[in-house]
Amino acid sequence: MATQHSRSAARLMISPAVLLLLGWMIVPLAMTVWFSFLNYNLLQPGPRTFAGFSNYYYFLTDPAFFTAIWNTLVLVLGVLAITTVGGVLLALLLDQPMWGQGIVRILVIAPFFVMPTVSALVWKNMFMNPVNGIFAWIAEALGLQPFDFLSQAPLFSIILIVAWQWLPFATLILLTALQSLDSEQMEAAEMDGASALARFVYITIPHLTRSITVVILIQTIFLLGVFAEILVTTNGGPGTASTNLTYLVYGQSLLQYDVGGGSAGGIVAVILANIVAIFLMRMIGKNLEN
């Protein structure tokens, strides 16, 4: 059905998108690579000299780098653990017959639509503040010492905030997947005398595996780039206690004006993200075949 004529028309229709994305991919990334090999600081006028791998050397041997990698890992894995386990449980609950299901769904999904700066500030001030926050009030009501979340457990607090934002996403996707579960298969298993636990382990979980993988991979891509939540709550501190890789590169580039070092950090972030991306692409690619 596709003639030669429509083929070339199709190519013409696709090319603007392809060219733009190609430019977006290549130009800035090539510049980052280029800068990463220069001694280039916006505060130091004068010629930019070739630096070899020294930017990478300094970035990768900076103790802050290891802290940042560790924090990034803890942040990503912590949020993933909370959102996938919580998401599966919530989705199972919401899939049951109940009154007002639509409204509950709306309540659960809402945090996903709150912009990161708002949710971070609301949590920081109105919940985690050791004097006026709701958590402090609860602690006092229980006879405990109020806990200063953001200075004593900054990373944990940020994990809590980010998990609150992403739990709805996991729940929504897993709920959608649950609703496509073949109810006849369930009933057949029930008739054959399979217990609720057995049905969950042998039917529900295998059915959800793919969606859980999708949830994990997509969240990972976004979670590697968590930025605003850190900026408005802790600024990466105290010290570097809540600095992740994204925030470290931001600090290097736009706070210290070290273009060379920041670029080297950026390339490191790109490489790490690509390792995750390869897995995700395989998943989605496989799905495209079907």
């Binding site: 733009l20 977006w24 800035p28 509950v104 990161p116 700066t117 109105m126 496509s180 408005v232 993200a273």
Partner: protein, 276 residues
Amino acid sequence: MARRVTPARKATVTAAAWALGLLIFFPILWTILTSFKSEGDAVAIPPKFLFFHWTLENYAVVNQRSDYLLHFWNSVVISFGSTFAGLLIAIPAAWAMAFVPGRKTKDVLMWMLSTKMMPSVGVLVPIYLLFRNTGLLDTRIGLVIILTLIDLPIIVWMLYTYFKEIPGEILEAARMDGAGLRDEIIHVLTPMAVPGIASTLLLNVILAWNEAFWTLNLTAAKAAPLTAFIASYSSPEGLFYAKLSAASTMAIAPILILGWFSQKQLVRGLTFGAVK
């Protein structure tokens, strides 16, 4: 489907689900409530839940003091501008890939997706410098350009998954009835494509509205959308809880409402069609 559920079980499930739902929603509810309090009531311990003097004063103050409308308008221009620009570029591309698929179509789609995986911070330095040197820093047009580029892959993908579901037989039937290419597009394809385009638009406006990496790094006073404006409350000014809440409520309300209409599209759009 006729699985019997005892009323007692249904009641238990309902109670548990509502309790959890309200717990998850509580921070938003609390923000909305606090926005109607006086600053004194906002920090009162024990907290005042419903019995306080309700006031609209915070909304008035926020609107007067901080050019709230300017930032709101910036958000509107940036999110809708980038979405429309993205649709303009993506519709022909997705269309061609769905209806005239070639051998390379899948590779092109996967490659587009891979551009989305690039962490923004990897290109922060060059984009910042390019913007600085071309005078695009702190301009709405600059942000529209960036957000168009970063959302383009999602827009193409979403449209593609929708267009793909339009049955090809319909085109053939129209052709048999003597419809030309023009009629085909105007009378057959467009009506079937509109829902998909609308869903894509909705989801992308939401994503662009809440984008908080580039908006924070590339804007200052002039072009800052609400994400960046709210971030300015992280300074000691943030101690004014009621005003923070009023500004926040106004910033999230429109998108909360849009978002509730787009639950289905969200799943599809954000999983690139992997979960429907």
